[in-house]
Symmetry: C2
Subunit: 251 residues, 2 copies
């Protein structure tokens, strides 16, 4: 049985609380949040506190707060010799400033409170200072999930940038497509199968081989026609991405 | 029974030939290609030709050639009073220059010859000059698929630009993510679940509501750190898309 305290109650923490509560080999001892109101509803399943001085004893402390607050919060975990980890994709392990052992427990997925999460499909990117702690984190991840990767702080930072491209920027491409459809009374659902296929394709062939379209074909006429239909911001993005695809073709 | 002649043998035509051949209510009478070698293997299932003067009689002629060639090819379909359609997302119906009836039969999906296609999931964007011809195209689409939309030439052009964003540009975001992972020996598969989730999410909530990440949060520190890790081209794209997401937030 691994005992856990979760510090913070954002989207990631919300889903971890639910998953750890259900997990057989995990004892969720406590949840901390700055404002107690946000976690009072958890009282039936775990202890809650808004004081870092009143943290319960546990094997692992999971700090799941905004990136900027990780260092400060970790420095306030006093007198605990346990493993302290954060759940961030972009913060180095050594930015933890607790006095004891350090690690990272980063579930690589986009979380929103409203949407159910299946941890079985989510890659856990783990890091620790030594093998024993890594194994502890691995056991914790496997209590709620299946996919575990050893990812160093440097690799994780790179992964996080990559994730911005394949998640946030991809979503922004969807948003532009959505805006164009809306403006012309075309149901966005017409594009759903294409969106699904595009995302599925790269699970089998690499994205550079999967590319199609006017930029890849250097179809100048179509590109010109497209540019005429876009607003300034869309046009700017269209040009830059078209050129970037073309550059890739030249290499 | 609807009789069909397919003109051209690119990716779309390849899959239409297979689907029409299997369809109960369609008689695939002939396939045309400029070089006969590319279609000779179709002889067991249909007639083949490399001469537009030798086209068989049919209810519908489907021109599935490169966009630039549609006008010219259609003008060479002489003495046929049947319905002539093209399969392009970006060419207007009136760019068909056959003497008779005109229409559009545009299956909105990204096709590659190597990959099987399930037409049941693909939206057919149809257009015709009159109701009767629209119904003919609808029957043809429903012989191999399920989803039919009436999309005007103007709407289709807009859809095509939107498709460049949600397919080609999205794929380019995947490519950049792939490059970053490769460079740092991180398996790209770590990002697969995130990619899937991102594409699935917008089938339930609109993309503007689905957005997360440093640009949306205006997390200046993370954005600065990310920019340091990218090459010039990636940096340029990162900046422009981050600003565009921020702009959306302000509206």
């Amino acid at each position: 049985m691994i005992s856990v305290v979760i510090i913070g109650y954002g989207n990631v923490a919300h889903h971890l609380v639910k998953a750890f509560h259900k997990a057989k080999n995990v004892h969720l001892k406590q949840v901390y949040a700055r404002s107690i109101e946000t976690i009072e509803h958890l009282k039936p399943i775990t202890s809650v506190t808004n004081s870092l001085e009143l943290l319960a004893e546990a094997d692992v402390y999971i700090i799941s707060v905004t990136d900027d607050a990780i260092t400060k919060v970790s420095s306030q975990i006093i007198g605990k010799n346990s493993l302290v980890v954060h759940t961030s994709g972009s913060v180095g392990m050594n930015q933890l400033k607790n006095s004891g052992r350090k690690g990272v427990f980063y579930p690589l997925q986009s979380f929103s409170k409203a949407k159910e999460v299946d941890f079985a499909t989510i890659p856990f990117c783990l890091e620790a200072e030594n093998d024993k702690d890594f194994q502890l984190l691995e056991a914790l991840a496997k209590a709620i999930g299946e996919k575990v990767y050893h990812i160093t702080s440097l690799q994780r930072k790179q992964l996080h940038v990559a994730a911005v491209f394949v998640n946030n920027f991809v979503n922004h491409m969807y948003k532009i497509g959505y805006d164009i459809c809306n403006q012309h009374n075309v149901p966005f659902e017409v594009l759903h199968p294409l969106i699904e296929e595009t995302s599925r394709k790269i699970q089998h062939i690499s994205p550079d081989k999967a590319q199609t379209g006017p930029a890849k074909r250097n179809d100048v006429l179509t590109i010109e026609n497209h540019l005429k239909m876009l607003n300034e911001e869309q046009k700017n993005i269209y040009k830059i991405l078209t050129n970037s695809i073309k550059n890739g073709e030249k290499l």
